[in-house]
């Protein structure tokens, strides 16, 4: 049974190896990749099912028990992230079937996609802080290559910023891990939690927590070090952007929440103030940056930044309800954001551009695309009854409950501005007539179109379902939060203590 939770890591590795050996057989690689993605989807939902109905699953790799060995832990939070991530990955792989150029396919695109997913899954599952660093590196190095293969000039330009800032953040992360090890003599997160809550509060622990805040902050693109994201996310092909947008920054947010609910719980008033301020600035700068853009992918990239602000705000408000909102937000955001990028890809596919001034008339030619876009875009902006509304509502309610009116005001303003940006894309790309000099004749076969639209439909319907069954999802998020605010269960499961 515990072997099951190592599969989300082993399977992509296995598939990556196979894909390298089958380098010259692109079709075989495609099939393997698709099968892997489907299996991952099934496995992650199985894990989610077991964790929800039974208990936390722990795997002591190498048969070394915690805190000495490296453990993989699937608790509710990890398994929920695992489920949405692999759902999104499945949709993206589906979309990739028809939408990646031959050049990139030959340059190890599929093995890299697999190792990327291995890193993401590993980061969610690990129960060891140094191992978390390793998974981050696995993920980042794959993403470095994915963002640069193709070697277009704009790609390299974006990649330099991306690589540099992420390396700096890894440096912070590693320094923080070093300090933690020096302070406590352990790297196991459950054990760290016990050791730190038993030790005297000290300035050093606060400092270390800030190192982690900086490290994960850069990786999740919060103010002020977010600019690597809009500088690089619009450069690679849309499938790559979509998976980056959905997953990478969210792994940073996941780690932030994990670290600040499990390990650094001593002096929360200190960190939560900082988090709330950062959240406010992140939301506003992100959304204002988006308002100034004229390219679909750039607008969407800036919106990732502003949306991260909401998640950080939930963590910073530091109440159970706020954290529930954060988790709801992440679950909703991963799906919606990826889908918007995929819709952007569809627009590019039929009209040959991402630049708003050159676009137009998509709604007239493909009304169905308009529906798909609106579902995701309105959900992102927080229009009821779609998923984004409930996520925003929960966080805003949590803020009002503790009279944090200012930050709630900022969040609501951001919501309105988000709606403005989404309507801008709608008006420019879908509604207006396409300028006559920009009309290109692009032939898209029916089969191609259907295969590209299906994954988008899948994600859009999940968005609608989250909105319709918001009550159940909310209860689920509450359960996840309960596991985070009271980490006794987690600690007992990892350290194999018998709970009383």
């Amino acid at each position: 049974m515990d072997f099951l939770i190592s599969l989300p890591v082993i399977l992509p590795l296995f598939s990556a190896i196979l894909c390298v050996f089958l380098r010259d057989y692109v079709k075989a690689q495609k099939t393997i990749n698709f099968v892997t993605a489907s299996l991952l989807l099934v496995i992650s939902f199985t894990i989610g099912h077991f964790v929800y109905h039974d208990d936390i699953i722990v795997l002591n790799s190498g048969n070394w028990s915690a805190p000495f060995g490296i453990v993989l832990v699937a608790d509710l939070f990890a398994s929920s992230m695992l489920m949405v991530s692999n759902l999104v990955y499945f949709a993206v792989v589906f979309y990739t079937l028809n939408n990646i150029d031959k050049e990139r396919e030959k340059l190890y695109f599929y093995p890299l996609l697999n190792t990327l997913m291995m890193g993401v899954n590993g980061a969610f599952l690990t129960g060891d802080i140094f191992n978390l660093y390793v998974w981050f590196e696995v993920m980042l190095i794959s993403s470095f290559v994915l963002i640069t293969i193709g070697g277009e000039k704009s790609q390299l330009e974006g990649a330099i910023k991306y690589v540099t800032l992420n390396l700096i953040s890894s440096f912070f992360f590693l320094t923080g891990v070093g300090f933690l090890y020096g302070l406590t003599g352990t790297l196991n997160m459950a054990d760290l939690s016990v050791q730190i809550s038993n030790s005297e509060p000290s300035v050093l622990i606060d400092t270390v927590s800030l190192l982690f805040l900086a490290a994960f902050g850069i990786k999740s693109a919060v103010f002020p070090l977010f600019f690597w994201l809009p500088a690089s996310y619009h450069t690679p092909p849309v499938v790559v952007s979509a998976i980056f947008a959905g997953l990478l920054t969210k792994v940073g947010v996941y780690s932030l929440i994990r670290v600040f609910t499990l390990i650094f719980t001593q002096n929360t008033s200190f960190t939560s103030d900082i988090l709330v301020v950062i959240a406010g600035f992140t939301m506003i700068t992100g959304v204002l940056g988006a308002a100034a853009q004229n390219d679909i992918r750039r607008i969407l990239s800036f919106h990732i930044v502003s949306q991260i602000g909401y998640m950080i705000m939930g963590l910073g408000l530091n109440t159970a309800l706020a954290l529930t909102g954060s988790i709801f937000y992440i679950l909703h955001h991963i799906i919606v954001k990826t889908n918007l990028f995929l819709v952007g890809g569809l627009v590019d596919k039929v009209k040959g551009s991402f630049a708003l001034p050159k676009l137009g008339g998509v709604y007239k030619a493909y009304p169905f695309f308009g529906v798909l876009f609106l579902i995701s875009a309105l959900s992102l902006a927080g229009i009821p009854p779609l998923s984004g509304f409930w996520a925003k509502f929960t966080i805003a309610k949590a803020g009002v409950d503790i009279s944090a009116y200012f930050i709630v005001g900022v969040a609501l303003l951001t919501g309105i501005l988000t709606l403005f940006s989404m309507m801008k894309i709608w008006n420019e790309a879908f509604w207006k007539e396409q300028p006559a000099d920009c009309v290109q004749v692009i032939k898209v076969t029916k089969k191609d179109l259907v295969l590209s639209v299906l994954p988008v439909v899948l994600l859009a319907s999940v968005t609608v379902l989250i909105g319709v069954f918001a009550g159940s999802v909310f209860e689920y998020a509450e359960k996840v939060t309960a596991g985070l605010t009271d980490s006794t269960n987690y600690i007992n499961a990892v350290l194999r203590r018998i709970s009383e």
Partner: protein, 136 residues
């Protein structure tokens, strides 16, 4: 590079270095050493060969492309980690057989894992150097 001294030296150094890398790999079973250093030494022998004989000959020497060494190494390591799973133990548990081999000592999955690492490191290092050498 066209240097008779280096060429002659490499002729004798090459087998010695390869042997030494194998020695390091096997020594890592019980003592300091292991797949990583072993792989690096093996890669340095290949790189010396590359400096004297050029890229083409080196590629012929390697038989397969370096990427296949990487993937093969990963596969070997992964399989060694899966052996204990089949026997009902957690992933990556060191599993030992009762066969006592001369020189090697007791055989077990850690050695297999190390062999995987050896090929992985060999593949990555030579891939980097060959790509650089092909640039000019």
């Amino acid at each position: 590079m066209n240097s008779i001294i280096l060429k002659t030296a490499v002729k004798y150094l090459f087998p010695v270095l390869v042997l030494f890398s194998l020695f390091l790999l096997i020594r890592g079973h019980y003592e300091p050493g292991g797949g990583f250093v072993g792989g690096l030494v093996a890669a340095s022998s290949v790189i010396l060969y590359l400096i004297t004989e050029g890229v083409e000959k080196t590629k012929r020497l390697m038989k397969f492309e370096p990427v296949y060494y990487v993937a093969g190494g990963l596969a070997i390591s992964l399989l060694s980690g899966l052996v204990p799973v089949i026997l009902g133990m957690p992933l990556l548990t060191g599993t030992w057989s009762n066969i006592e081999a001369p020189v090697l000592g007791k055989l077990g999955t850690p050695l297999v894992f190390d062999i995987g690492v050896y090929f992985l490191v060999l593949g990555v290092s030579t891939k980097i150097v060959i790509s650089l050498a092909e640039e000019d």
